[in-house]
Symmetry: C2
Subunit: 351 residues, 2 copies
DNA sequence: CTGTTAGCGCTTTCAT
DNA sequence: ATGAAAGCGCTAACAG
């Protein structure tokens, strides 16, 4: 097994020379074209192995005028919800022969914009984007002239007519709050994030719907908005809520991270979950639940968000997408544990 | 704000034509070369904006014979330990002007090999790798002729003389087991993974050291090896351990995910943690701990693993690394919670 | 089945 | 301070 140890990386010409054929034949071999005689193919393959040749993707992309790279852009990949999405998307992408570039916007629109431009510069074949919020609209619009297909994940943006994979936030929130009402709660607070984010708007709407259905009057004091759907955001909002003597008996938080911050704030005030305040939220934290089944949640099939979104994107890149716009809404699943104050730990489902 | 809406993406020539200069001048502008007259620069910048021009990274990389892309390769990015590493590395890389490509090997050596070849094909400037294990050696060796600098993260591989960032697994394990011994345990089991992984070997060694120091004889029955350091691996190994009537009063698992599986297995047998069996492990699960401070762990500064490793890699790429090989060992931190059976929840540190 | 030619978009080198 | 020429490694289009 000889190896090129000396100079620069071997090119397709080096392989051609070593195999006694033209670069074109080598190209046909590495691209699995049928029109190569088996013997010739073997010679070429031998030369490739001998030289340790690896095709240069940059040159390939430049010539073909397209790459097989997908960009995945999310606000935070340490959030278990997003990391599952990434895993699902990466898996599907790989199987379809696409590579994947990951970007973490940290919820910052400008950083998002920089990443988007980066993806354009890399000539990514398509993008999977969990946008920062409606403020991402301008960023996404800038994408249009570059003809980069993209699929939105988790968050819709009014005015952006792209493919979209999201959960049913309205109904999920409605169920969650209805569950609390069924448990006897009437002063139910909602810890949310900026209404710039579609999921936050939808969940607030579901909250309203559940209240209305039960004939419970809406109290604006019970809705507080954190800076973001993060631990800190949930903590700050809950602290403000409790300091204002809004006296909720239950809190519905916009997502899992906010719930963690919320619970911390409740406990710091010397109160107990669920005895003093019940807590429910969107999105599960599976690892935590396995250690201690505590949080009652509306679990979304995060990994499936990723696989479906990747599939939609790949179809569109391949021109297999006929419709102008496709929207997939995935149902969430109510998992009742103890933080809501329900007895036992029944695991019902909302299929 | 005119935009190119029609044809293909504008090239540097289009910009040059629009600005009435040569492509070379445009190149100088986008690369921030000093030798451009301010007026000329402005014209060019105006043309760039008008056309919505974004430089083609493929062409750039091809010409320059190098890219500013780093590859990050880990076994699983839904594991909180690795997702923190990724966040840290991504952050540093971005700041230094590098893009980042993420690969998830799922603990599969062949998949790892495929990714590595992919990174070579992309002409990545360097690689950050948390390898599958010693079996990755052949994969990494194949990298050498391609001259791709790489930094190993978390796991060392005998015979691979690369830069390396790791935790002090031996001492961390020793402390963890010593803690259990201090609590009165003498039948302490160790749930580990394949000894192909350096961290698993080191932690087993630390386990031995602690036992020896306390004069507790080693019982091979108390060491069980799961398929991987995953929830399932920990579950299976613990199930086997308990079925064998090894009767441990405490278990030290090789990492956090294995601990989750371990605890599940203990509970399924009708036993309680920590009353019947105490459990401690390497690596924290911060989200779970915030909800319910339960698991006693040896916490590693995962994000710092990522930032330091990225820094080492970038230095080496830039030729700023003088030494042949640099090894950084980061200390871990003992966090005592309740799963070990210690009273209270004292948070000591092993700085 | 195999080879030749041309060019993808950019930057390096060398002029001016 | 600016430009012209050449070429990075590959493949599309067209021979043969």
């Amino acid at each position: 097994m000889m190896r090129d140890v000396g100079g620069a990386a071997p090119t397709i010409r080096d392989v051609a020379r070593a195999a006694g054929v033209s670069p074109m034949t080598v190209s046909r071999v590495i691209n699995e074209s049928a029109h190569v005689r088996p013997e010739t193919r073997k010679q070429v393959e031998a030369a490739i192995a001998a030289l340790g040749y690896v095709p240069n993707n940059l040159a390939r992309g430049l010539t073909r005028q397209k790459t097989s790279t997908l960009g995945l852009i999310v606000p935070d990949f340490t959030d278990p919800f997003f990391s599952l999405i990434l895993r699902g998307a990466e898996d599907v992408a790989r199987r379809a022969g696409y590579g994947v570039i990951l970007c973490n916007t940290a919820g910052d629109v400008e950083r998002e914009d920089a990443y988007l431009e980066d993806m354009v510069a890399h000539r990514a074949a398509g993008l999977l984007i969990a946008p920062v919020g409606d403020r991402s609209r301008a960023n996404l619009r800038r994408l249009v002239p570059h003809r980069v297909p993209f699929v939105l994940i988790d968050r819709a943006i009014p005015g952006i007519e792209s493919d979209l994979v999201q959960g049913d936030s309205i109904d999920g929130a409605r169920q969650l709050v209805a569950h609390l009402i069924g448990l006897g709660h009437r002063r139910i607070a909602h810890v949310t994030e900026s209404q710039d984010v579609s999921t936050a708007r939808d969940r607030l709407r579901g909250y309203h719907e559940a209240l209305d259905a039960a004939g419970i009057p809406f109290d604006p004091e019970l809705v507080v908005e954190g800076k973001a759907a993060t631990i800190e955001g949930g903590y700050d909002a809950t602290t403000a809520l409790l300091a204002a003597n809004a006296a909720p008996t239950a809190i519905f938080t916009v997502n899992n991270l906010a719930a963690v911050g919320c619970i911390r704030a409740i406990r710091e005030r010397g109160l107990t979950v669920p005895d003093d305040v019940a807590v429910v939220c969107f999105d599960d934290i599976e690892l935590a639940a396995m250690l201690h089944p505590f949080l009652t949640v509306m679990a979304q099939p995060a990994e499936t968000f990723g696989t479906i979104a990747a599939q939609l994107l790949i179809d569109r890149i391949a021109g297999r997408a006929t419709e102008r716009r496709r929207r997939v809404v995935l149902p969430a699943d109510l998992i009742v544990r103890v933080s809501c104050g329900a007895e036992g730990g029944i695991q019902s489902n909302g299929g």
